[in-house]
């Protein structure tokens, strides 16, 4: 069936206020209660199907809210050829939903056509920088717009890395024009896991390149007598991450901020409460958040 191009009533622009990660459990609640939330973000790949309920709901919600498309499967840093079908599916979704932002990760997740469905770390080397910049440029050319690239949570570092993660991201942005999605929880997790200084990390990020911030919950795992933080998105944002978020706002300025929760997803109301907390940090009045 040919799709009729929409022109949505709601603006496509993601406002500088808090948004919520939209999951299928929330569709009916959002449509029935029309909560005061600035915007929603979805995982792009969940809407790569040809039709059916997911796209129907997303379009309905897009009628009332700006939407950001966040990808988890493009495998930007992989040495495999960039998947043309994946890019075409993303472009089709962009044409249909008219998102305010499109984002992906500073990571790779496939080799030889086998996919890990995970965000694996890159060595931060000259070789990886050239490769990643080339891939971001290809992807941006294909979809015809800017991509924000997110700093990942990581659990290992390569000995031959010659860049700090924040410098690697800045350099990618400078070379390709991509934006930076600063995930404050990921920064917290990675800094803890590798003994990096979180303030140094935030101050090292090119503030004018940051287009969005993510906040989420993580899990503390005890491994061989050491606490390792795992990026699980299965609980509220912790106090330390809220504090680091406040610092991040001072360092990079107020940016659209997403509350993410992906596993054991709760009802909408606790997410709205976290979004309100982010709005207070942003200085967004309740009445301006809509």
């Amino acid at each position: 069936m040919t799709h009729v191009q929409h022109t949505f009533t709601a603006s496509s622009v993601i406002p500088v206020s808090a948004g919520i990660g939209l999951r299928s459990q929330h569709y009916n609640d959002v449509l029935e209660t029309h909560p005061t939330v600035g915007w929603f973000e979805v995982h792009s790949e969940n809407y790569f199907g040809k039709g059916g309920a997911p796209l129907l709901y997303l379009e309905k919600i897009r009628e009332d809210y700006p939407i950001s498309l966040h990808g988890v499967g493009m495998s930007l840093g992989s040495v495999d050829v960039l998947d043309g079908q994946h890019l075409a599916q993303l472009k089709r979704l962009i044409d249909r939903i008219e998102p305010g932002l499109v984002s992906e990760h500073l990571s790779w997740g496939s080799f030889g056509g086998d996919y890990l469905n995970d965000l694996a770390p890159l060595p931060y080397t000259e070789e990886a920088l050239l490769h990643m910049a080339n891939r971001i440029a290809q992807a941006q050319d294909f979809i015809g717009r800017q991509i924000l690239v997110e700093n990942p949570s990581s659990y290992l570092e390569y000995q031959h890395s010659s860049y700090k993660e924040q410098d690697f991201l800045n350099e990618l942005s400078r070379r390709t024009g991509c934006g930076i999605l600063l995930d404050v929880n990921n920064a917290y997790v990675s800094c803890h896991n590798h003994g990096w200084d979180a303030l140094d990390y935030l101050q090292g990020i090119a503030a004018d390149r940051v287009g969005e911030i993510h906040l989420a919950g993580h899990t503390v795992n005890r491994v061989a007598g050491m606490d390792i933080l795992i990026d699980t998105h299965n609980q509220p944002v912790c106090a330390d991450v809220w504090a680091l978020y406040e610092t991040a706002l001072q360092v990079v300025g107020a940016k659209p901020t997403l509350i993410e929760w992906d596993t054991d997803v709760p009802a909408l109301s606790p997410l709205i409460a976290e979004a309100q907390q982010a709005n207070s940090c942003l200085g967004v009045g309740h009445e301006l958040a809509a």
């Binding site: 309920a53 988890v72 040495v79 080799f111 390569y158 491994v223 061989a224 795992i230």
Partner: protein, 259 residues
């Protein structure tokens, strides 16, 4: 120091298949934990993440075998059939065939067909939308064109046959099921149509002849060819009633004229 290519090859082998941990650990900083312990976090995340993705698509198989056994099935499956795209909608399609070869699942002979049913449901859920054929367009078919007339089925339509009562087993394992749960495995098998007329997927049990008829239409035979084949085994096949039923229920979406 390995190239980016070699680093990713080794990492993938270990994360997906538990192979070559020592090779994958080269070039990784230890920093409080060993490189192997750090790598193992990724292996666990990858394998658990894919196991949960598979469980999401196969809730009844998971319920029938229990979490522990499902995890074993999933681990073996992932090694042989890892995702082939960054979008997971196509991941897990061979699970039914895989279970059929998995020896310790042999005590549940209906399990492969249950997995196939759940995959049909998953595919139908995400398939393209289509509008039903209007009765009026059928009325316009010229009598001279009848011999070439065929139908397109809704893109979500899947036809599945099983020697086991898998629909009853599927129904009794749904959250809102209110029956007594007693299933007689010696009961006859079933012929099923799975499709999504609007937004909800439905599973319809069919008489064998009707199932065969729809299957032949889906294989692009003409109406007359399909009826002739069905009537070899079912001489009393009521084609008009069957066509009427599926026109009314949005399964037939287009008329086609075969050369």
């Amino acid at each position: 120091m390995n190239s980016l290519h070699e680093t990713q090859r080794r990492f993938t082998n270990y994360a997906l298949r538990d192979m070559g941990q020592e090779l994958a650990a080269e070039d990784i900083k230890s920093n409080g934990l060993t490189a192997q312990q750090r790598l193992a976090i990724y292996r666990n995340n990858t394998q658990m993440g894919l196991t949960e993705a598979l469980r999401d698509g196969y809730p009844v198989v998971n319920k029938l075998v229990g979490t522990e056994f499902f995890n074993q099935l999933a681990r073996s499956f992932i090694r042989r059939h890892p995702p082939k795209a960054g979008c997971l909608l196509s991941f897990g399609g061979q699970f039914g065939d895989f279970i059929a070869t998995f020896e310790s699942a042999a005590s549940l002979p209906y399990l492969p067909d249950m997995a196939r049913l759940e995959w049909c449901w998953h595919e139908a859920f995400h398939e393209a939308d289509a509008t039903a054929l209007e009765l009026a367009s059928l009325a316009k078919v010229a009598a001279t064109a009848y011999s070439k007339l065929g139908f397109t089925l809704h893109p979500s339509a899947r036809l599945l046959a099983s020697d086991y009562p898998i629909l009853k087993i599927w129904q009794s394992n749904q959250e809102d099921y209110e029956g007594d749960g007693g299933i007689n495995l010696d009961e006859n098998g079933c012929h099923l149509l799975i499709y999504r007329p609007h937004w909800d997927v439905v599973i319809v049990p069919l008489p064998e002849a009707e199932h065969q008829f729809l299957d032949l239409l889906a294989m692009e035979l003409t109406l007359i060819q399909a009826v002739e084949q069905v009537m070899v085994k079912a001489p009393d096949f009521a084609v008009q009633a069957v066509l009427q039923r599926w026109l009314n229920n949005g399964l037939l979406t287009n008329i086609v004229y075969k050369p």
